[in-house]
């Protein structure tokens, strides 16, 4: 896959929709495109995070260690962003991401990521939207879990 095709794919991701093509090109150029075999780990819970990943093809599981053993809490697919929390607030990875199929992801380093976010407020807003959605979903699930517990 050449740089041009990558740029085309990236532009379809909502997060990058409003960003100038040349900046997306820079993003693509400075970021590593990685292929994972099924079962490979993209990141592991507890590791120090230095990059976020944009899934360009394939599926991945989000796995969290619980006292009763590892638990798959979500599925990720094309155009999903993963691993951004650890680089946003400097905490260890909150979950393990494991490739469920052959998977291609763009690895964006912390440095490039922050640069893009500060330079393009649209991207920051989009990021906030993604995080907010996730928060809503988590809150929802928490509530459900509590109700189940009470019941």
């Amino acid at each position: 896959m050449s740089l041009k095709e990558e740029v085309e794919i990236l532009r379809q991701i909502p997060l990058f929709a409003k960003i100038e093509p040349s900046k997306i090109k820079l993003l693509a150029f400075t970021s590593e495109r990685l292929t994972y075999q099924p079962g490979d780990f993209i990141c592991r819970q507890g590791d120090i995070g230095d990059a976020a990943y944009f899934i360009m093809a394939g599926e991945a599981d989000v796995i969290v260690d619980t006292p009763s053993g590892p638990m798959t809490v979500a599925q990720l697919g094309k155009n999903d962003v993963v691993g951004e929390i650890a680089i946003l607030i400097n905490i260890p990875r909150t979950a393990t991401i494991q490739a469920a199929s052959e998977l291609t992801a763009l690895r964006i380093t912390k440095d490039v990521f922050f640069r893009m976010v500060t330079e393009f407020p649209e991207m920051a807003v989009e990021m906030m939207r993604v995080l907010a959605e996730r928060l809503v979903r988590t809150t929802d699930e928490l509530q459900k879990a509590r109700q189940e517990n009470n019941a």
């Binding site: 040349s22 090109k25 820079l26 693509a28 490979d40 780990f41």
Partner: protein, 884 residues
């Protein structure tokens, strides 16, 4: 050492000085005749005074012409004889001087090795180094001429004066009339110069001390913005030196002026008095001419004598000032270091110290009447608060410091009088920051095994005569005659049979101190000379095959390495690497500057790729300009991803705006080269530019073959071509095994390949071979190429491998993290079970696995015993345990 330079010279080179003096005296008769001949030529041969031709010599009749020629011929012969004397004397002087200089330097250096440790607190390397190097340098020259020069030149002068006196005593007296004046004034001036000279030597020493400080403390200077202060300090010292040198110059030139003035007075008298006498007819003109010539001859020796006098004073001061620095109190006896015991005794039984007293240089007590006793088959922990004398005690036990009073014995050996051969082999000591020498890792590891040349190297033919000369020269100058190339390894001491078992043991010890993985990694990244180690190279080569077999067998790994194949373009390597298809040796094919190489240009042109490369370059440059134009110049992307540095970017920007895609043929030559250079750095799978089409790749592969085939002879050594079947000396072990590029774009490729590599290494039992290569790694000045922890571990390994009867560790592991400390302590305690180990520790909680504990307080041992006993009975030990 002798305190006067003359005594030193006579003691060590009496014979040479006598020979030189005799040669000088022998030359005088010839000199006298040489001076006399000109007068004879003028008076007799030319003017025919007091002679009637033909004359008869030895039965041969000579007319005036023949007489003239034979006189002139004789003159020429004497010139040759005199110059030959000078030549021989000078050479002999030079050799004697150089030998003495070698002896002096060697003696001074040996003295450093015998200095008591506290001396190094007061003397810095910055002060000592110039003393042995620069300061004694002129002494060599002086020593050669110390006696011969004044005798030769003085005699020369006397000959000339005698000659003058014989010719005409009035004129002779006139010519030397002013010498007494010089002889009176010059020493007076010289005394002042001497005093200044002494001052200068001291100032220069402190100057080099400061330079040394600035180098060693460079971090501190930067961290505290101290550079201005350092500069001011340096300037201040330079100013002092300047003012001293200035005064020396003034005085020296006053002396010179006086000398020259007085010298020129001679002709004044000759022309005045002699001229009067010639006019009055009381003097032959020939005599006057000869006298003037002789006086001119006098100038040279007289000048030499004065200069010698100045050099002598200079040498006297320097010698004195250097020697006094090399005689610190408490220096070890020479024999203590050099004597070799008949049989090296083991330290067994009890280590007993009684009434040991030690004070530091300020007089404060470190050890006060300390008494100790422990068994040499016990592992002893020494604990106590800071300032309790733990540090001093370990140094006293290691015999690095002499106690002021007290006795120390190990079994029936008196340790205070024991030879260094015993102490330095049976005891090992490691402090907090051990020193690593600027040589290979292995040399450092085995440093403790090299005490004496044990296994003589046998020389033959030319090498033998060279070695014999070496030994003779060393003997003549009192130097060490030990052969540096002999086998120095003391296998017996290390408790091994030979080199092979020593290597195996080294592996064990490196493992013990947690260093083997580091050395293994260094080994992987080092190169190996296949001519020197053909077996290792062969092993690495078979590792390569096994590696590729395994790679082929595992579909998930298969694509992670792109091997170098002669007929395939490697998409994970740069264009430059693809074209060269080898590792550059030397600078001829610098991968970053390939485009500038005329041979590369020729190959590119022949492959019809020049135009393509320029267009590729244009494309790359446009992209770079588009992507990077907005970035600040110091942004790390330029370094990480840039084909173009931030400095060059504006130029490319200008070139691109000047010329468009359709008019590239109008480019200027230097711009063409600029564009040409860019594609060489492109790695298709990494940069994903999509510009390197299959067609271009094929052409590059074809060019690669032509490149190798047509390589001119003078460039043949500049590339080590990739060869599937051959080991490459130019690349490191890892690259030799991988023989390809780790592919971009595969997650954790480096880790997975690394794991595969180590499985190959394990299966083939290659680790030892690779570690052996790692041992050849050069550690740099004071081990700077290793981390601080690696250096310290190396020092521990060095101490363990010599298998000492007693290992003394002075908080040697305190700089490691807790986990490493624990691991090392466990390993070392296991290794030294049943042997002597003294370990000074800063925490009581680590002492439970030891056999015996000494608790220090105020320079005395306050408690001692087994850990269980102390835990039960000693409140002090309990308190120390509780506080940690």
């Amino acid at each position: 050492m002798e305190h006067s330079i003359y005594k030193y010279i006579l003691r060590h080179s009496m014979k040479q000085q006598i020979v030189l003096t005799l040669m000088a005296i022998l030359s005088f008769p010839f000199l006298f005749i040489y001076l006399e001949i000109p007068a004879r030529i003028i008076d007799q041969a030319i003017q025919a005074n007091d002679i009637s031709f033909p004359v008869e010599y030895f039965g041969v009749e000579l007319d005036q012409m023949a007489y003239l020629y034979s006189s002139v011929g004789l003159f020429l012969v004497l010139v040759v004889i005199n110059q030959a004397f000078k030549y021989v004397i000078n050479v002999y002087q030079g050799i004697s001087g150089e030998r003495m200089l070698r002896r002096l330097r060697y003696e001074l250096y040996s003295r450093i090795l015998r200095f008591p440790m506290p001396t190094f607190k007061k003397k810095s390397a910055g002060e000592i180094i110039p003393m042995i190097t620069a300061e004694v340098e002129p002494l060599g020259g002086f020593i050669g001429e110390a006696f011969a020069l004044p005798i030769f030149q003085g005699g020369y002068l006397l000959v000339i004066i005698t000659f003058l006196l014989l010719q005409n005593w009035i004129m002779a007296l006139a010519a030397i009339a002013l010498y007494p004046l010089q002889a009176y004034f010059i020493p007076k001036l010289q005394k002042k110069v001497n005093a200044l000279g002494k001052q200068r030597v001291k100032l220069v020493r402190s100057l080099s001390d400061q330079i040394g400080e600035s180098v060693n403390g460079a971090e501190e200077v930067h961290a505290h913005d101290g550079s201005s202060y350092m500069r001011a300090q340096f300037s201040n010292q330079l100013s002092k030196i300047y003012s001293v040198r200035y005064r020396i110059y003034i005085l020296k030139f006053v002396v010179k002026f006086l000398n020259n003035f007085i010298q020129q007075m001679g002709p004044f008298f000759f022309y005045g008095i002699g001229g009067t006498m010639v006019i009055n007819g009381t003097l032959e003109i020939g005599v006057l001419v000869a006298a003037i010539a002789a006086h001119k001859e006098m100038a040279a020796p007289w000048k030499e004598l004065l200069a010698h006098y100045q050099r002598r004073e200079d040498a006297r001061i320097k010698y004195g000032q250097v020697i006094e620095q090399f005689e610190p109190a408490g220096m070890r006896d020479e024999n203590n270091q050099l004597d070799e015991p008949e049989e090296l005794p083991h330290l067994t039984g009890e280590m007993v110290g009684t009434n040991i007293i030690l004070a530091d240089d300020t007089g404060s007590m470190l050890l006060e009447n300390l008494n100790l006793r422990f068994n040499l088959n016990e592992r002893v922990a020494v604990i106590g608060p800071a300032g309790s004398g733990r540090d001093a005690l370990t140094r006293v036990l290691a015999r690095l410091m002499d106690p002021d009073k007290g006795k120390l014995s190990a079994g029936n050996i008196d340790m205070r009088g024991a030879l260094e051969a015993v102490v330095g082999r049976r005891i090992a000591y490691v402090g907090q920051h051990g020193y690593v020498f600027n040589t290979s890792l292995g040399d450092n590891l085995f440093f403790g095994l090299k005490h004496r040349p044990l296994h003589e190297t046998i020389y033959e033919g030319e090498k033998k005569s060279a070695h014999d000369t070496y030994v003779v020269e060393a003997g003549l100058t009192g130097n060490s005659v030990d052969d540096i190339d002999a086998g120095w390894f003391d296998y017996e001491l290390a408790n091994v049979a030979d080199q092979t078992s020593l290597d195996a043991r080294a592996l064990e010890v490196l493992e013990m101190v947690d260093l083997s993985e580091d050395v293994y990694q260094l080994g992987l990244r080092s190169t190996l000379d296949p001519d020197e180690f053909p077996e290792s190279a062969e092993l690495i080569l078979s590792a390569r095959h096994m590696f590729f077999e395994k790679l082929e067998a595992d579909p998930s790994l298969k694509n992670m390495i792109e091997a170098f194949e002669p007929d395939h373009y490697n998409t994970n390597a740069t264009v430059a690497e693809n074209l060269l298809f080898g590792t550059p040796v030397g600078n001829a094919f610098d991968l970053d500057r390939m485009a500038e190489n005329p041979y590369v240009q020729k190959i590119i042109e022949e492959a019809d790729l020049t135009e393509t490369f320029i267009r590729l370059g244009y494309q790359v440059a446009s992209l770079m300009v588009e992507l990077f134009a907005g970035l600040p110049p110091d942004h790390e992307f330029f370094q990480l991803y840039g084909f173009i540095s931030s400095d060059d970017l504006p130029e490319y920007q200008a070139m691109i705006s000047r010329i468009d895609w359709d008019h590239l043929e109008q480019l200027r030559d230097e711009d063409r080269l600029r564009f040409m250079s860019l594609p060489f750095k492109v790695i298709p799978s990494r940069h994903r530019l999509g510009v390197l089409t299959d067609d271009i790749q094929d052409k590059i592969v074809a060019a690669r073959h032509r490149f190798a085939k047509n390589l001119p002879d003078h460039l043949k050594g500049s590339v080590a071509f990739f060869d599937t079947k051959a080991y490459s000396a130019a690349t490191n072990l890892q690259d030799n095994i991988l023989f390809g590029k780790i592919a971009y774009g595969y997650a954790q490729a480096a880790e997975k390949i690394g794991a595969l590599l180590s499985s190959v290494v394990d299966e083939m039992a290659l680790k030892q071979t690779i570690i052996a290569v790692g041992l050849n790694f050069h550690v740099g000045t004071a081990g700077a190429r290793l981390s601080a922890n690696q250096r310290q571990k190396l020092c521990l390994a060095r101490a363990i491998i010599k298998h000492p009867d007693m290992l003394i560790l002075n908080q040697s592991t305190s700089s490691f993290d807790a986990a490493t400390q624990g691991r090392l302590m466990k390993n070392i305690l296991t290794e030294f079970k049943g042997r002597g180990l003294v370990w000074s520790l800063d925490h009581a909680d680590k002492t439970s696995s030891f056999d015996h504990i000494l608790v220090l307080k105020g320079g005395k041992i306050s408690e001692s015993g087994a850990p269980e006993k102390l835990r039960a009975q000693s409140t002090q030990y309990q308190e120390m345990l509780a506080s940690t």
